[in-house]
């Protein structure tokens, strides 16, 4: 046993899970490459371990390995997974299956995908108990209903008889937790169980998970990329990066006194501070705009906002609030039913086809996912060069020179012009998208969740880049996001949307520090804070 293995609670027979020197390889293009480079992990009975890291850190792989399982296309190449004294990796599949579902259970990220669409929830909840002969059918159903109640699902007696598609996302996550609890396992692996949920839903699901795990004294591995979320549940936190352990410490210590620079960078976005500015020079104003998909679904209701020139306006809301639809209406993809959009005082034609090339040039859009925003078959030079040629008529040498200039502006080397998007990292691709927007010399850039698909440290870099570009070029940003931390970092003004309506607008300090509308207050209170006591505090305040 390696001497550096951290084991804060180590008390001999209390130990439930011991992973030693775990190594896993994955297959890409027919070649096996290491993904997990020797990880140790210890877990006592009733203990909750937070497993945290960014995409590609291998946290889900480690979580599944705790069940003796690897995804197809991966394989164990070394180490051991000792569960309650027996090595899961060295036993035959048949014996492994006796542990899975019965003594170690799993809760996945998306209930929509992880529940079989063909069976009712209750069938799936009791399945493991029946297959492993834990309970007879009637008792299994009774326990499932009891668990539904404990996890505060509405109408616990009835809800199990629905099909997955008839139940909301938050309810599915609760039902999946009930499914994991059915056999009263010793260990549950939670793999980002609240990541796909809106913040206001996340709080309640989080509270339900915490309560039930405590009630049954179940040990848990809680996987997430959000340190603030895991701080509410975990006794101990382990940080992973590139398949290696970075740091492992008790939750309090990890938050108050992180040892590694990488750990500190996990809340990098929260370090950006920018003074708020105001302006009376209006660049774009949306006047009483309503819009709908098809003829029936109204997604924007009477939106009335002003965007000041050279400033950053953040549009905040949860999924379904209409914030992205607002962007589509401004850009001309979804002509409004009524109302109009004024650009520098003149009405914008409602659809793209009706706008002049010059108008199209002046308003640019940057997307959330840089992976899908760049044509994989066009080189970076072509991607950035096309708007130069299309809008400004630059060709040949002049075009090449300008591409190089733009690459420098976004802090990339000129040689990037010859690369294809597939060869770039997520952050680099997003920089290329920014350069493509800048190539048009726009007055206004709409940023649609531009940092949501990126890791924290990359988010910080991109936000700083955008701030710098605004200072140098005086471009106006409309920043669409669901992430309050990003709003705090970059916005001058904030617009809060809910169900297609603007519920609050004003300067950043006014909206974030002194919210007036109940929805804004709810939204802000639901954002997890880097404080283990936050969840209790919120719940206590709500129950008042």
């Amino acid at each position: 046993m390696p001497s550096n293995a951290p084991s804060p609670h180590h008390t001999g027979d209390d130990r439930l899970l011991e992973i030693r020197d775990l190594k896993i390889e994955g297959q890409t293009d027919g070649i096996w490459q290491p993904i997990i480079h020797g990880i140790d992990l210890d877990l006592n009975r009733g203990e909750i371990l937070g497993l945290i890291g960014e995409s590609g850190a291998g946290k889900s792989t480690v979580g599944l390995a705790a069940m003796g399982y690897v995804k197809p296309g991966m394989r164990f190449t070394g180490g051991s997974v000792n569960f309650d004294g027996r090595d899961l990796l060295s036993m035959p599949d048949k014996d492994q299956r006796r542990y899975r579902g019965k003594r170690i259970a799993y809760v996945a990220q998306s209930g929509q995908a992880s529940f079989n669409p063909g069976y009712r929830l209750i069938e799936q909840t009791v399945e493991a108990a029946l297959v492993h002969s834990v309970l007879p059918r009637d008792q299994a159903i009774a326990r499932a209903i009891d668990l539904y109640g404990k996890l505060s699902l509405p109408e616990p007696e009835i809800i199990g008889f629905r099909y997955p598609h008839q139940v909301s996302g938050g309810q599915l996550q609760r039902a999946m937790t009930a499914m994991a609890m059915e056999c009263q396992p010793d260990l549950i692996v939670f793999d980002e169980p609240t990541t796909a949920l809106d913040v206001t839903t996340q709080v309640n699901v989080l509270a339900s998970i915490r309560d039930i795990v405590q009630e049954f004294n179940t040990a848990a591995i809680y996987i997430t990329h959000d340190l603030a979320v895991v701080a509410q549940l975990a006794d101990r936190i382990k940080v992973l990066r590139y398949g290696r352990e970075v740091e492992d410490a008790e939750t309090q210590r990890m938050l108050s006194d992180p040892q590694e620079d990488y750990t500190k960078s996990l809340w990098a976005v929260r370090n950006i501070t920018r003074t708020e500015r105001s302006s009376d020079d209006i660049q774009l104003s949306v006047k009483n705009v309503s819009a709908s998909y098809g003829k029936t679904v109204k997604v924007l209701k009477d939106i009335d906002i002003d965007i000041p020139k050279g400033r950053t306006v953040a549009v905040v809301g949860e999924s379904g609030s209409g914030k992205s639809t607002l962007a589509r209406s401004i850009i001309g993809l979804l002509p409004p039913d009524n109302g109009e959009v004024l650009f520098q005082g003149d009405a914008l034609p409602p659809s793209i086809g009706a706008r002049s090339k010059d108008l199209l040039r002046r308003i640019q859009l940057i997307y959330q996912s840089p992976d899908t925003a760049l044509n994989p078959r066009q080189s970076v030079g072509e991607a950035i060069g096309r708007p130069l040629e299309f809008y400004l008529g630059l060709k040949g040498r002049a075009r090449e020179a300008r591409v190089a200039e733009l690459l420098n502006l976004i802090e990339l080397d000129e040689s990037f012009a010859y690369r294809l998007p597939g060869e770039l990292s997520g952050g680099q691709k997003q920089r290329i998208c920014i350069a493509r927007a800048l190539a048009a010399n726009p007055d206004l850039i709409i940023c649609d969740e531009v940092t949501s698909a990126l890791d924290q440290i990359v988010q910080e870099e991109i936000l700083n880049l955008l701030i710098r570009l605004q200072e140098e070029l005086g471009i106006t940003y409309v920043f669409i996001t669901h992430d309050i931390a990003v709003v705090r970092a970059i916005a001058d003004e904030v617009i809060v949307m809910q169900m297609g309506k603007v519920v609050e607008k004003g300067s950043r300090s006014a909206v974030l520090d002194n919210p007036q509308s109940p929805y804004t207050q709810l939204l802000l209170s639901a954002v997890p804070k880097m404080d283990p006591g936050w969840l209790d505090q919120v719940l206590a305040e709500r129950s008042k």
């Binding site: 890409t28 293009d29 027919g30 850009i331 001309g332 993809l333 793209i352 706008r355 090339k357 199209l360 640019q364 859009l365 997307y367 996912s369 992976d371 899908t372 925003a373 760049l374 044509n375 994989p376 078959r377 066009q378 096309r386 708007p387 299309f390 809008y391 597939g422 493509r436």
Partner: protein
């Protein structure tokens, strides 16, 4: 890019066989000992030094006819496949880019065309227009282009759902740019694999129709009709009809081997992303 070593044996066999067939097709006049429709001996002469594979029911050299058959059958099938792709891909992309009613009408039209089994449809049209080589090519190309249309449209739709496509729309790009620069390069790999599969289908269909006597007409040497002409010999334990049939089967197997490998590879690349 992968190295040649990772290409499976089956695909290698496929490449070699295709090369041999193409060689035979291109250099047919040099390779064949006799002419395509030349009467050189008595009917049904046995295998021997004079006629390596014997003669057919009219006394033509079977080996020569097999070699010329490569030229005719493969040539017509390749021409049909190319035409079918030209029609199918351009309409498919246009349908997706234009969208709306245009797309709707084209899609429904192809649905209706596809709800008649292809061979039956071909028989119907051939009976109306007469069985000439040109008709055969046009009819099969049009029937087959519905499948290409559907594939091109389906793959193009996944491109249209991408943000980069929308970005080009917002930029104000025209239809031609959208089709040629944004969509086509991204759907090329599955389309190329489909060329192999469609060729196999067309090739089998032409051979089948010729076998039935409504495809390529005599005296043109063609494998399908050669099977039909000598079919009765099978009841005397003679393998003559099996030779042209085997020629068809072996080429189709080879093309399928290559197309299957290519298909696996392109879908593998898609999975990796």
């Amino acid at each position: 890019m992968r190295t040649a070593a990772s290409v499976p044996v089956t695909a290698w066999i496929g490449f070699v066989v295709i090369a041999i067939y193409l060689f035979a097709a291109i250099f047919a006049p040099l390779l064949a000992p006799y002419g395509e429709a030349e009467l050189v001996g008595r009917p049904f002469q046995p295998w021997g030094d004079e006629f390596r594979l014997g003669t057919d029911q009219l006394g033509r050299d079977l080996l020569s006819r097999l070699i010329y058959g490569a030229r005719n059958t493969i040539g017509i099938a390749a021409l049909t496949t190319m035409l079918s792709f030209f029609i199918g891909v351009s309409l498919g992309l246009l349908a997706v880019v234009r969208g709306g009613l245009f797309d709707h009408i084209l899609s429904r039209a192809s649905d209706v065309l596809m709800s008649i089994p292809q061979l039956i449809f071909a028989l119907l049209l051939l009976s109306a227009f007469g069985a000439t080589a040109v008709n055969l090519i046009l009819i099969l190309a049009i029937i087959d282009s519905t499948r290409v249309f559907r594939l091109a449209r389906a793959t193009a739709i996944s491109v249209v759902a991408m943000d980069y496509y929308e970005a080009a729309r917002i930029r104000g790009e025209g239809v031609v740019w959208m089709m040629r620069r944004e969509i086509l390069p991204n759907i090329l790999p599955p389309l190329i694999a489909e060329v192999g599969l469609r060729f196999c289908f067309v090739f089998l269909a032409i051979s089948g129709l010729s076998f039935l006597g409504v495809g390529i007409q005599p005296p043109t040497a063609d494998w399908g009709s050669m099977v039909r002409e000598s079919a009765t010999l099978i009841s005397y334990g003679n393998i003559m009809p099996l030779l042209p049939a085997a020629a068809i089967a072996i080429l189709t197997i080879a093309v399928n081997f290559v197309a299957d490998w290519f298909l696996n590879q392109t879908s593998g690349l898609r999975d990796a992303k």
